[in-house]
C-alpha cells in the first residue's frame, strides 16, 4: 500500500539542494576549452549557470510531523493524542549531508538523492525510527506548476518516492502510531516515503537561495511493491504533460479489504504561490466513470444528463488552508459502499468539476499502469543490468502484460544552452546503438512484475571529451500503444567507456580526470583541494582517499564524481593508496606540472548588502533553470522524431 496507506505520517518543512551547476553544460567537460568564467554565475544558461559554487548537499530542514493516520482510517494532528505530532523528520546528525546528483549533463531529468538518512526525532531521545533512503530520482516533474513567486525551475514540482531501509527503532510504546507502523513493517523491513518538492529558490541574491519546501508522507512498504512509485491508479493528462487547468499526473490507491481509497493530490493541482496553496479550480470531486466510460474524455462536460458517473466521497478539500502542509494533500475516502467499491475496482476514476460537470482529468484507459522501478543506471561495460517493470489494471497487479523496451533514437542538442564555446560540439546521445543489447519483450508475473534484463558494451568514446554515452530506453505496454506516459518515464543509462587500470598509475594518468572535476566543481578547487595540482592532491591525500573509496551511496562520495567509471575510480584510488615498503605513500609523480593559481572566486561568495544593491535583479528568463531547459531540449527531440 506504500505511503498511500491509512497508516501514514505526514510531514512538511523545507529542504536545501545546493547542487553545483558548472556541469550543467556538457561542453564544460572539454578540459582544453574550459575558461575561468564558466565558474562564475550565469545569467541563465551561460557561464557557470545559477549556482556554480554549489556543494551538492541535500538537506531536510525543520520538517515536522503534522498528522498521522491509523489503520482504522482515523487521523490526528494532536500531540496529546500521539506524541509523534510535532516531531522532526530530519536527515542524519552524524554523517555529512546527503547529495543531489544528476546522471549526466546530457540527462538532467532524473536527479537522484544519494546518501540520505532519515530519522524521526524529538531532539532529546534517540531517534524513534531511522532508516536509509534508497537513492532515487525525482519523477512526474511538471514545469510552470506554481503561479507567481518564481521563474524557471522555481515553478516546477516533482515527486521523490523511495523506501527507507535498514530501519532501527527505539521503544515507541507511548505512540499508538509508531506501534502500528512498526508492527506492519516488521515483515518487509522498510518504509515507503514520498517527498514532493516545490518552491525551490534559484535566485542567488535571495536569502532562501537553494531552499525549497517539502511535503512528505511515510507509510509501510509491503511485499511485491515497487520502491519508487505507487502500483495503483494513475491519473494521466490526455496530452501526456498537463491538462488545460495545469493538472499533473497523480496517483491513487484502493484498499479493497478495508474499503477505502486514498488519492495523492500533492503533485497534482496547480499551486497559487510559494506556500503550498492550490489554485482555485472551483468545486471538484472524485468520481467513478460509468460505461461506456472509455468514450469519456478529459474536458468533456455535461455528464449528468447521461448519468455517466458516480461520486466517491465528498468535495475535495483542496482549498482548505494549508491542506498540503498539514495533511499532505491526501484525500482519503473510507467505508466505501460495497457496490460502489465493486465499480471502483473495474471502472476508471476521474476528477470532476462540479461547477460544470467537466472531466478535469481521468484515469488511464482500462486503468492501465506500466512503470519501471530502477530507472537510473551507471553502467560499466559487460556488467549485466536488470530493471523491474510493473503493470497493473485498476490498481490490481496485471499478469501476462507484455512490455516492450526500445532504445530511443539519436538525440541532438541535449545538455547545452546559451552562448558557450562555438567550437565545442554538443554530442549526440543514444549512439551507437550497438553498445546496448536489449533483452526480449517480457511479460509480467502474477505480482504484475517482470524482470527485464539487458547488457551494455563499451560505446567507444562517441562523445570524445566526456566519458561514455547516455542511452535512454523507452518502455511501453504492447497491448496499448496509446498508453499515456509521463514524458520522463524512461530508463536512463550512462554507459562508461572501456578503461584499463594502468599497472603503476602516475599523476599523468590522474591529472586529466581531476582537472575536469576541478573545472566542474569549483567549491572544492577554490576552497579546499585544487584537484588539478599535484601538490594540493598530495596534501589532501587522506581526504581524497575517503571520497574515492566509499560506495556511491555514501554521502562522503564526491558528488560530481558519480560520473566516474569504476576502473577510473580504481585507478585514482590505486594512485592515492600505493605505499612503499616503509609505508610511505608513493603518489607517483610522472611529469612535472605547474599548479594552477587559486584565485578568489566571486561565485563562492554570498552577496553582500552593497553588492546586492548594485546588482540588477535578474529577469525570470535569466534564471530559467537547467531542468526546464533540459526538458525543452528533450521535448524538442521528441517532436522532431514525430
Amino acid at each position: 500500500m506504500s505511503y498511500l496507506n491509512n497508516l501514514r505520517m505526514v510531514f512538511s518543512g523545507r529542504f536545501q539542494s545546493d547542487v553545483s551547476t558548472v556541469n550543467n553544460d556538457v561542453r564544460h567537460f572539454d578540459v582544453d576549452k574550459f575558461v575561468p568564467k564558466y565558474q562564475e554565475y550565469g545569467p541563465g544558461a551561460t557561464n557557470g549557470w545559477w549556482n556554480p559554487c554549489g556543494s551538492g548537499a541535500f538537506r531536510l530542514i525543520d520538517c515536522r510531523v503534522t498528522q498521522v493516520g491509523y489503520q482504522d482510517g482515523t487521523t490526528t494532528s494532536d500531540p496529546a493524542k500521539d506524541p509523534v505530532i510535532g516531531m522532526l523528520l530530519g536527515g542524519s546528525n552524524d554523517l555529512v549531508s546527503a547529495k543531489m546528483v544528476d546522471l549526466d549533463p546530457q540527462m538532467q531529468m532524473v536527479s537522484e538523492i544519494w546518501g540520505l538518512s532519515m530519522r524521526l526525532t524529538d531532539g532529546k531521545t534517540p531517534d524513534f525510527v531511522a532508516g536509509r533512503f534508497l537513492p532515487a530520482p525525482f519523477r512526474d516533474i511538471l514545469f510552470g506548476r506554481q503561479q507567481g513567486g518564481g521563474a524557471g525551475d522555481q515553478a516546477a514540482t516533482a515527486i521523490y518516492q523511495s523506501v527507507l531501509e535498514d530501519l532501527s527503532w527505539v521503544d515507541s510504546s507511548h505512540s499508538p502510531f509508531l506501534q502500528q507502523l512498526k508492527a506492519m513493517t516488521e515483515q518487509v523491513g522498510k518504509l515507503s516515503v514520498r517527498m514532493m518538492l516545490y518552491s525551490y529558490n534559484m535566485d542567488h541574491k535571495n536569502p532562501d537561495f537553494t531552499i525549497g519546501r517539502v511535503s512528505g508522507v511515510i507509510g509501510p512498504a509491503l511485499d511485491f511493491e515497487p520502491d519508487t512509485f505507487v502500483l495503483g491508479r494513475r491519473f494521466a493528462p490526455a496530452n501526456g504533460q498537463n491538462t488545460t487547468q495545469n493538472i499533473n499526473f497523480f496517483n491513487a490507491q484502493v484498499d479493497a479489504a478495508n474499503r477505502n481509497l486514498c488519492v495523492d493530490f500533492s503533485n497534482a493541482l496547480p499551486l497559487s504561490g510559494t506556500d503550498g496553496a492550490f489554485v482555485d479550480l472551483g468545486k471538484m470531486k472524485l468520481v467513478v466513470l460509468e460505461p461506456p466510460f472509455e468514450n469519456i474524455k478529459e474536458g468533456d462536460t455535461q455528464l449528468i444528463a447521461g448519468n455517466q458517473f458516480t461520486p466517491i466521497g465528498g468535495a475535495i478539500p483542496y482549498l482548505t488552508p494549508d491542506w498540503l502542509n498539514a495533511e499532505g494533500a491526501l484525500f482519503n475516502v473510507t467505508d466505501i459502499d460495497p457496490t460502489l467499491l465493486q465499480k471502483i475496482q473495474c471502472q476508471p476514476l476521474a476528477l470532476l468539476s462540479t461547477d460544470n460537470n467537466g472531466v478535469l482529468i481521468r484515469e488511464t484507459a482500462e486503468g492501465l499502469l506500466v512503470r519501471a522501478d530502477q530507472v537510473v543506471h551507471r553502467l560499466n561495460p559487460a556488467v549485466p543490468v536488470s530493471v523491474d517493470l510493473y503493470a497493473s489494471r485498476y490498481g490490481i497487479p496485471a499478469a501476462g502484460e507484455k512490455i516492450a523496451v526500445t532504445l530511443q533514437p539519436p538525440a541532438k542538442g541535449m545538455g547545452g544552452g546559451g552562448p558557450q564555446p562555438a567550437d565545442v560540439p554538443i554530442p549526440v546521445i543514444n549512439i551507437p546503438a550497438s553498445a546496448i543489447s536489449l533483452g526480449q519483450t517480457v511479460a509480467t508475473d502474477s505480482h504484475g512484475r517482470a524482470h527485464y534484463g539487458y547488457s551494455v558494451s563499451a560505446p567507444g568514446n562517441p562523445r570524445e571529451y566526456i566519458d561514455g554515452q547516455v542511452y535512454l530506453l523507452s518502455y511501453t505496454p504492447v497491448s496499448d500503444p496509446g498508453y499515456i506516459q509521463q514524458m520522463f518515464d524512461f530508463i536512463a543509462n550512462l554507459v562508461f567507456d572501456k578503461f584499463t587500470v594502468p599497472d603503476k598509475p602516475t599523476w599523468d594518468d590522474i591529472k586529466p580526470i581531476m582537472s575536469q572535476y576541478n573545472n566542474l566543481y569549483p567549491i572544492m578547487g577554490r576552497m579546499l583541494v585544487n584537484l588539478s595540482s599535484y601538490d594540493s592532491m598530495v596534501r589532501f591525500r587522506n581526504l581524497l582517499e575517503l571520497a574515492f573509496s566509499r560506495e556511491q551511496s555514501d554521502p562522503n562520495y564526491m558528488p560530481v564524481t558519480r560520473d566516474l567509471s569504476e576502473p577510473k575510480r580504481q585507478m585514482v584510488l590505486k594512485w592515492l593508496c600505493e605505499q612503499d615498503a616503509n609505508g610511505n605513500y608513493l603518489l607517483r609523480r610522472g611529469q612535472n606540472d605547474a599548479p594552477l593559481p587559486i584565485e578568489p572566486c566571486a561565485s563562492c561568495e554570498i552577496s553582500s548588502p552593497l553588492a546586492k544593491a548594485s546588482l540588477e535583479a535578474e529577469s525570470s528568463q535569466d534564471i530559467k533553470g537547467s531542468k526546464e531547459l533540459a526538458a525543452e531540449q528533450y521535448r524538442r527531440n521528441l517532436t522532431q522524431q514525430d
Partner: protein, 348 residues
C-alpha cells in the same frame, strides 16, 4: 602556559579509584576540544587564498589539538571510561573561560574572533604559552603563581597516577581504541592498552603543545604551538640564529597577516544574533548543525565505532566549506557573519 588551580593537581594526586581518574580525563578531552572553535574562527576569517602562511600555521595547530583530543579519548577508553562528547555543555560558551577554569589566573577569556595580531597575542599565544617560554624575544606574560599549576603539570599528575595505579586499571575494550593511520601518522596516534602506551601518548600532548624549556621544538623538530603562533604575531619565521643568545630568533621568511585580507567577523556570534529569515541566520543554524553532527560522530568514534572517524573527518571538511561561504556574508555594519559553534540537536 595557561594554568589551572593547583587544587586540581592535588586532587589528582589524592585519587585512589580509577573512576575518579576518568573524570579528569573527560576534563582533558573537553579542554583539548575547547580551543578548536577559537582557532577555527581565526582560520576561517582569512579570505580565500590570502594570508596563506598564517592560515597554514593555524591549521597545523588545529589538527594537533584534534589529535590531542583523540589521545585523551584513547586513554579514557583504555581505563574503562566512555568519553562524553555529544552534549551541549561539552562546548564552552564564548566568550568565557576554558574548562576547569584554565587561564583564570590571568583572566583569559576565550573568544571567537577573526585572526588579528591582537587575537593571536592575547588569546592564541596565551592559551599555548609554555611553562618556561624561551625568550626569543618573547617575555613570559605573567609571573608564576603558587596557587596555579600548568597544563603540563596537570598531564604529569595524570601520568604519575596512571603509573601508580598500574596496568590493572587498563580494563577498557581494546576495540574502542582509535589508531587510524589515514588521518594521523602511526607515531602520533596509537592504541593505548597499558601504562607505557598511555604515558607516552600523554607526553606527546605536552611536547607538541609546549615544546621543552630548552628548545621551541618537540622531538620531531616541530615548533611548539606557542612559537608557531608567535611567528604570526612577529610576522617572521622562527629560525636558528647563532647571533641570538638563545640560538633562535624571529628573523626568517615573512609570515604576512594582511588585515585587508581578513574578514572582520562578528565576535562570539550566536545564531540568535542574526535576524530570522536572513541568510546569515540560515548559515549559522546550518553550521551549528554540521558542527554538532561532527561532535555526534566523534562521540560514536570514541564509543565503540572507531571507523566513524572517516565520517567525522568528512563533516569537518563539510563544516569548513560551509563556513568559508558563510564568512563572506556582509552584515552591513562593517562586520561579516561568523559561525557560532553551538551544540544543537535538530536542524531547524
Amino acid at each position: 602556559m595557561l594554568k589551572l588551580k593547583r587544587q586540581i593537581i592535588d586532587k589528582i594526586r589524592d585519587i585512589s579509584e580509577v573512576s575518579e581518574l576518568r573524570e579528569y580525563l573527560q576534563s582533558a578531552i573537553e579542554l583539548e576540544h575547547a580551543t578548536v572553535p577559537v582557532y577555527l574562527t581565526g582560520l576561517f576569517s582569512l579570505k580565500q587564498a590570502q594570508n596563506v602562511e598564517a592560515g597554514n600555521i593555524v591549521r597545523s595547530v588545529v589538527i594537533e589539538e584534534m589529535l590531542h583530543m583523540s589521545i585523551a579519548c584513547n586513554v579514557l577508553n583504555a581505563i574503562g571510561g566512555a568519553p562524553q562528547i555529544n552534549k551541549p555543555d561539552f562546548v564552552p560558551t564564548f566568550p568565557g573561560p576554558l574548562p576547569m577554569g584554565v587561564g583564570e589566573d590571568r583572566g583569559l577569556i576565550a573568544t571567537l574572533a577573526p585572526l588579528t595580531k591582537e587575537q593571536v597575542k592575547t588569546v592564541f599565544m596565551a592559551i599555548e604559552e609554555p611553562e618556561n617560554p624561551i625568550d626569543i624575544p618573547v617575555t613570559r606574560m605573567l609571573q608564576a603563581d603558587a596557587n596555579y599549576a600548568t597544563i603540563g603539570e596537570f598531564y604529569q599528575a595524570i601520568i604519575d597516577k596512571i603509573v601508580q595505579l598500574g596496568n590493572s586499571i587498563f580494563t577498557g575494550d581494546p576495540s574502542r581504541q582509535l589508531a587510524d593511520t589515514k588521518w594521523f601518522p602511526a607515531d602520533e596516534l596509537w592504541a593505548v592498552t597499558d601504562v607505557e602506551t598511555a604515558c607516552s601518548a600523554l607526553k606527546l600532548i605536552v611536547e607538541q603543545g609546549e615544546g621543552s624549556s630548552k628548545s621551541p621544538t618537540d622531538e620531531e623538530g616541530e615548533l611548539a604551538h606557542y612559537y608557531r603562533f608567535a611567528e604570526i604575531y612577529y610576522g617572521k619565521r622562527l629560525v636558528k640564529d647563532a647571533s641570538s643568545p638563545v640560538g633562535w630568533s624571529f628573523s626568517g621568511e615573512p609570515v604576512p597577516l594582511n588585515p585587508e585580507d581578513v574578514y572582520n567577523l562578528r565576535h562570539n556570534a550566536k545564531a540568535q544574533d542574526y535576524p530570522e529569515g536572513s541568510v546569515a541566520r540560515r548559515y549559522a543554524e546550518q553550521t551549528n548543525y554540521t558542527y554538532s553532527s561532527l561532535l555526534n560522530s566523534l562521540h560514536h568514534t570514541f564509543n565503540g565505532e572507531p571507523q566513524q572517524l572517516d565520517h567525522a573527518m568528512g563533516l569537518m571538511y563539510e563544516l569548513r566549506l560551509s563556513v568559508q561561504k558563510m564568512v563572506t556574508i556582509d552584515l552591513g555594519n562593517g562586520e561579516f557573519a561568523a559561525p557560532p559553534f553551538q551544540y544543537v540537536t535538530t536542524n531547524v
